[in-house]
């Protein structure tokens, strides 16, 4: 195992530090995505990011610009409250996913790039992270995460009880838009750097495990970010040690972690129930 870690530190330092930072930021946003019950927004936004990259290649503009514009536009659209009895948000997310996936293929076919080249741009891989990706991450993702932390209270209040927030003079629409634009930015950049599947994993899995482990928001945020970083490190070490693909290995290690937490939670609840019966 130490060989794997040494290999990472010496040969893939960008992947190591980028993986740890992006996983923590993804999990931080993921807590709110799960609490808002819009987990599949992660898939839809990731696909929009890929579509933006493909569109940018076709139009010969920087891929990150295409990904950012399309994803943040989609996030702004999805931040709008849907009518209670009209369109379910899931249906909207599904439609965006399918539309973006179809358009991506269309753009790729029209672009002058080779399939493998386009694939690597559309679906990033953590192990292939460059120093340029590290700079982009530090310039865009870290400020996005800090913004969320600074404005945690109003955003939490709006997500907890929108109407009461408005009565308390919190600009609910503004804070929802801020959150979803930040989320769009994070998903666009992170999907481009580490890949859509891994980004979706960071949004959904560590936050779910953290919500099982604690009932305090501050602790949930700490557990989600630290467990995401831990699973990334574990996945990277396993991947380097036994030569498996990096992104799927991290996803599997995250899901194993979630399964272990769920199992322990189940056993703890069972034990408490028995204690109460006695």
């Amino acid at each position: 195992m130490s060989t794997g870690l040494e290999l990472l530190i010496h040969s893939f330092p960008n992947a190591l530090w980028t993986g740890i930072i992006i996983s923590a930021i993804g999990a931080l946003f993921g807590v709110f995505v799960v609490l808002r019950r819009v987990v599949f927004i992660g898939v839809a936004l990731s696909e929009l990011a890929a579509c933006g990259v493909a569109g940018a290649l076709w139009l010969h503009v920087p891929p990150l610009l295409g990904a950012g514009l399309l994803t943040m536009g989609g996030a702004a659209l999805l931040s709008m409250p849907t009518g209670e009895n009209r369109i379910p948000r899931d249906a909207l997310l599904g439609s965006i996913f399918v539309g973006a996936a179809g358009l991506s293929v269309f753009f790729v076919l029209r672009s002058a790039y080779g399939l493998e080249e386009v694939k690597s741009l559309l679906y990033g891989d953590l192990i292939l992270v460059t120093i340029q990706d590290v700079y982009i991450m530090l310039a865009l993702l870290v400020p996005a995460a800090l913004t969320l932390v600074v404005f945690l209270r109003p955003i939490t209040h709006v997500f907890l009880d929108r109407e009461m927030s408005m009565v308390m003079k919190i600009a609910a629409r503004k804070w929802e838009l801020v959150f979803f634009l930040l989320l769009g930015l994070v998903v666009a950049v992170a999907s481009k750097i580490v890949g859509a599947m891994l980004m979706f994993c960071y949004l959904a899995v560590p936050s779910t495990a953290a919500l099982l482990l604690s009932r305090r928001l501050s602790r949930v945020l700490i557990i989600a970010t630290s467990s995401a970083a831990f699973c990334t490190l574990a996945g990277l070490i396993v991947s380097a040690s036994i030569d498996t693909p990096t992104n799927p290995t991290i996803c599997v290690s995250s899901v194993f972690f979630l399964a272990a937490v769920a199992g322990l939670t189940f056993l703890r609840n069972l034990w408490r129930k028995k204690q109460n019966e006695h």
């Binding site: 209040h157 109407e163 009461m164 009565v167 003079k169 919190i170 009932r215 602790r219």
Partner: protein
């Protein structure tokens, strides 16, 4: 009515093309306990949301003191998602949000206010529980404590008893009526049970098909004069004083 705390003049509200409130004029006295009753879909909740400023009327004027002092708002229990990992103390703290400082952290004095209201509702020993861990009655107390912690002049409640059993509902309504009577709080409550609300109030605001009328409650006002808790002008009663007597 002199110096009403809330005044609506010729208010109309529509969802798309469906008129929900039609030419509503209403004055509410400071310290009134006023139930808004009527069948489902009559427009009770819409009227309260217009008063709160959550909905903008398509026509008419709404005058409230809410710019200077936020009202207390008691939402339905299901509004808060039980998976949310916040303690009931944090939920109650939300009621002080407009008064919190730059970092939105309560000062020692505000923490004392939170302790005080939790103690009043016997919530202090449960302060570290989350909303999902509470019974229906405790949830109700939490939401009410959040509404009252900022010491508002007006408390607005949207069907707050819809998930309580009959006894708990009766106790809750009695408590609200006493808040209005003893502490001079103006209480506006959307409620489904007309008879139950009538026994506690001097007057009832009956909302039906978007129109509003005032009916007499069964609670005596002591001076055997027409109820002065509110005054209403609608299509049918424009220009007439309330004639209901206890």
């Amino acid at each position: 009515m002199e110096n009403p705390i809330i005044e609506l003049s010729n208010v109309e509200f529509s969802y798309d093309k469906q008129v929900v409130l039609s030419d509503v004029s209403l004055q509410i006295r400071r310290g009134a306990f006023l139930p808004f009753v009527g069948p489902n879909g009559a427009g009770k909740t819409t009227l309260l949301r217009v008063i709160l400023g959550l909905l903008k009327p398509s026509r008419g004027i709404v005058k409230t003191p809410f710019e200077s002092k936020s009202p207390g708002y008691v939402t339905q229990l299901k509004t808060i998602d039980p998976i949310f990992p916040v303690t009931i103390r944090q939920i109650i703290e939300m009621g002080l949000y407009p008064e919190l400082g730059l970092w939105h952290r309560p000062s020692p004095a505000q923490n004392s206010m939170i302790d005080g209201i939790m103690s009043r509702f016997s919530l202090l020993e449960h302060q570290h529980k989350t909303y999902g861990e509470l019974s229906g009655g405790m949830k109700q107390k939490t939401i009410l404590a959040r509404a009252l912690v900022g010491r508002p002049e007006v408390v607005v409640m949207d069907e707050p008893t819809s998930e309580l059993d009959e006894k708990a509902e009766s106790d809750f309504l009695n408590f609200l009526a006493s808040l209005s009577h003893d502490e001079g709080l103006t209480v506006l409550i959307a409620h489904h049970g007309m008879d139950q609300a009538a026994t506690l109030a001097e007057g009832l605001c009956v909302v039906n098909r978007g129109r509003v009328s005032i009916e007499a409650g069964k609670k005596p006002n002591g001076n055997h004069e027409p109820c002065a808790c509110c005054h209403c002008q609608s299509h049918e009663s424009r220009g007439e004083q309330n004639e209901h007597r206890p």
